[in-house]
Symmetry: C2
Subunit: 555 residues, 2 copies
């Protein structure tokens, strides 16, 4: 084997804020293995952007080297970018049954379901992809069928936890595979990449079963209908709602497109066990006594178009809040969503519902392991090198400290950023430059065409609007033959601002007459002059800075 093949490199390609979350590339010689291909939702300042996907320039530059994509679980932030990736890179995909089930629905929407090469794997399966021996290991998470991935190359074993927690009493009875994790640890793991999401939480993350007990209490006490909002993909949570409803003689109706989708896919695949007669159509809720109804809905993040938001705004066609309803928001707000969730809760209270939403109320537990579970993972695997992933920079730093406290030398712990290449031999690790990585914004059909210039313009337009000045000039004399016409949007309330806009018009006439006299006929100069002069005038009068667009036509 050549010098080259004695090294293996890790390259986090995805994400925004979070590092190494949505896509990871592993390169060994002339072979690349990709783990996950997820999307994220845009930050506030990405105006008009629909979703954000990882930048796969590096993969496209080395198209012939990519051996396949392995998926850890079926959440959007791990599979959501696949339709975009597959259009340019149709390599084999490996994932568990539920993961592929959820992916198939998504591929259908993009008409890629015929062409994608999907390969189902089970825990402990080992798949050979070029020089990579990839093993799948069961972990717990807030979706069934979540897997860690162990990738063996001649240099050593790379263990990537994916999103995980250790739930000793999981709802589906499927424990994390401690035995295999410790066997790998015994055999020697070169590098561990581990989920840092909850590194700031001490102790253990509570078992999903705790939520079940809370549901028991709530369902027993509630005298009216019960609405439960949850992530659609949180299959174990949905199962608990169904179980508890069944136990207390309630029927379950489902609203929200993604919830209907997931319930149907998960039930078809057997991941959701629904007692016959328990599921009813949404239309049937009104013909049942209130205390026999449960409504399962999307909208736990206060998303404006979700079913729960529409219910809260009295804007849902089939479901309206009745006094005495209990609404359970079985999720915590993702950072950034706190306000929209709070607004939804307020609206529900106003309509007379009781709303159970706080973390302390026990209606939600996290899908990610807390400090003690992160330590347990480190303790079982005992890797030579450690790379914290999945988290904002501060979390990675804290996870790195945790690993050091457990005895991994500081020099063997690496906090890296997206696009950084971390290279390993059997004994050493070192940074080896950078590749193109990061975020690509998707807006409508455009993938990556919205960049800094478009966003900067949208931001200025959003702040103070726009003012358009149109003038038609005589080509020979430079005299104004029509206009100036002024049109503004989002700047001032036009009906009450006619004097201001009239004054702006006179300013433009003045400056154009000056240019005519001076025989200036360089359009870009004239436009800059109009922009400057109007900009100053408007700022002085309003302290606002609208975008000013002068348009000159010649006849």
């Amino acid at each position: 084997m050549g010098e080259n093949e004695q090294k293996v490199s890790l390259i986090p390609l995805g994400g925004l804020g979070e590092i190494g979350k949505n896509m990871l590339a592993i390169r060994y010689g002339n072979n690349i293995l990709v783990v996950d291909a997820g999307l994220i939702f845009p930050e506030d300042e990405m105006l008009g952007v629909d979703i954000v996907i990882p930048d796969i320039t590096y993969l496209l530059e080395h198209k012939s080297l990519v051996r396949g994509i392995v998926l850890t679980h079926g959440h959007e932030d791990h599979i959501g970018a696949l339709p975009y990736v597959l259009r340019e890179l149709n390599v084999p995909i490996y994932g568990s049954r539920l993961t592929l089930g959820l992916l198939e629905g998504k591929l259908k929407e993009f008409q890629l379901d015929g062409s994608a090469k999907l390969n189902q794997v089970r825990p402990r399966d080992v798949v050979k992809m070029g020089p990579f021996k990839v093993e799948f290991i069961r972990v717990n998470h807030s979706i069934a069928d979540a897997l860690a991935v162990a990738v063996q190359v001649p240099v050593g074993t790379i263990l990537y936890t994916g999103d995980f927690k250790f739930d000793q009493t999981p709802v589906d009875g499927e424990m994390a595979d401690f035995a295999r994790l410790t066997q790998l640890g015994d055999a020697g793991v070169l590098v561990l990449l581990s989920d840092s999401t909850n590194v700031e939480r001490p102790g253990y993350t509570l078992s999903e079963r705790v939520v079940g007990r809370t549901f028991e209490d709530l369902f027993r006490q509630a005298k009216g209908r019960i609405l439960v909002a949850s992530f659609a993909s949180h299959v174990p949570r949905v199962q608990q709602v169904i179980n508890t409803a069944y136990r207390y003689g309630r029927k379950v109706a489902v609203t929200g497109r993604s919830m209907q989708n997931v319930v149907s896919i998960a039930a078809d695949l057997g991941y959701l066990v629904i007692p016959p007669g328990t599921l009813i159509e949404l239309e049937e809720i009104n013909s049942l006594p209130k205390d026999e109804v449960v409504i399962l809905t999307t909208g736990s993040q206060g998303e404006p178009m979700s079913a729960l938001s529409r219910i809260a705004m009295s804007d849902h066609r089939q479901v309206g809040i009745l006094p005495g309803d209990t609404v359970v928001i079985s999720a915590t707000p993702i950072p950034g969503n706190e306000k929209t969730v709070a607004r939804t809760v307020d609206q529900l209270f106003r309509l007379g519902a009781d709303v159970i939403h706080e973390a302390i109320s026990g209606v939600h537990v996290s899908g990610h392991g807390s400090q003690e579970e992160l330590k347990l993972m480190l303790g079982m695997v005992r890797p030579k090198f450690f790379v914290p992933v999945h988290g904002e920079y501060r979390m990675l730093v804290k996870h790195a400290r945790l690993a050091q406290e457990m005895g991994i030398p500081e020099s063997n712990v690496f906090v890296i950023e997206n696009g950084q290449v971390l290279e390993f031999t059997r004994t050493k690790a070192s940074l080896a430059g950078r590749v193109t990585a990061g975020r690509v914004m998707v807006d409508g059909l455009g993938v990556g065409d919205v960049g800094n210039i478009v966003l900067r313009d949208r931001k200025q337009l959003a702040q103070d609007g726009i003012l358009i000045v149109v003038i038609t000039l005589n080509r020979e004399s430079g005299a104004i033959v029509a206009g100036p016409d002024i049109v503004s949007r989002g700047f001032v309330y036009v009906r009450e601002s006619e004097p201001l806009l009239e004054e702006a018009r006179s300013k433009v006439i003045q400056i154009m007459e000056k240019y005519e006299k001076q025989r200036v006929n360089d359009w870009s100069n004239i436009k800059a002059g109009v922009r400057d002069c109007l900009g100053k005038f408007l700022y002085e009068k309003t302290r606002r800075r609208p975008m000013i667009i002068p348009i000159i036509m010649e006849v």
Copy 2:
């Protein structure tokens, strides 16, 4: 006394989300007393809006009845709207020494310091304003000199807590006036309006002194410089930083305009005690050993232009992070600011600082009372009626439940919204209609001119940008003599979209030729046609909906 004077009404006028927070009107016969006049910061969807102030239409409609404005404390959300209010309603203002000190700085900026009628009050002072006997009662809060207000009218006593907590070991030694609160309770309080901010927190809010102890530990252990970010107006917190710095032989430099402002005002008025030689100029930090430096800064909310954000972005003229610096963020993010704070923290970690920011670390305590303090207030005052204020709707509902648990009958507890009038006799309370109230948006010099139309336009512009089509027509023939010219901003990246825009241009020519043939010369029809046809075309091609502005000129 007439029938009319035997009633007193409460009208919350301010706020957004929170109810009864920023301004409250109390009406007795032909007399109105106003409590507080605060501002709030705009929600995300109020694009380009600088601040939001209460709608004072009701006060302006009854200008001659307004007897005065009393202020509970000096925070922006209680005094920040005064410059706007005073311009239209120059009535006497009553407040404590620090409150007026902070207000004066603000009035100077608006050149209102000459005309405002400011009256200083001390705890237990009683001021007569028309039929209102107003008494000021000391409470604890995250600013010195915070007061509750008891308003006596012949119908009974109204007690308004303002923002409060009970701190048994306050930093300035000034305890809340339990004696006066219980005396009022014994004498009989008609209605209590109480702060609901922390009703969701069980137990007691920790004493400000706890933060002092945490500072002790941090200052003792830190080997490099210490940066502390806090609200400028949090004078007790600033005092603790100065005390601890002095004790550990560190000098304190101040950065951030509002922090410099408050430190200077509070020190001048004696609310901040600074040992001689402790305060240094920012320029001096580099000539001192690192372990003798403390930098006090604004930016605890991650505000983009604040000193701490600029430090984190390596964009501050005098302060750059040095490895080994400890940054203490001595505040919790206000809902909605979580992400910007997190981003600042990440940047500081990247620069090699250690950042202490979590609530659990003891570097911050709330200024608002938790459940046990709210109960203590209710227990001491034992009001006949209870109106929870200061909080989102769900918090008011929870505070109302708390009061009911303490024995106030459900029929005597009122959760009201801004603008609702709640009317009291000695024995009864009832809703009595609504008045204009709520929010007025301030954008630059414009107060209230930005409304739904402007915001809707800004939102559309922010989402998908704008596309402007300009055509000059011959007045007689209707033939195109110049254009169509197409200009777009924030829609697509123009350099890569020339074919699309060229195709759009042809579409416009086609439709204009059709109109010319059909001799359509109704401009608004033509414009609507262009907008429709282009809108459909662009949506099909891009799945985006830019604002389309057709402009037609005639020569």
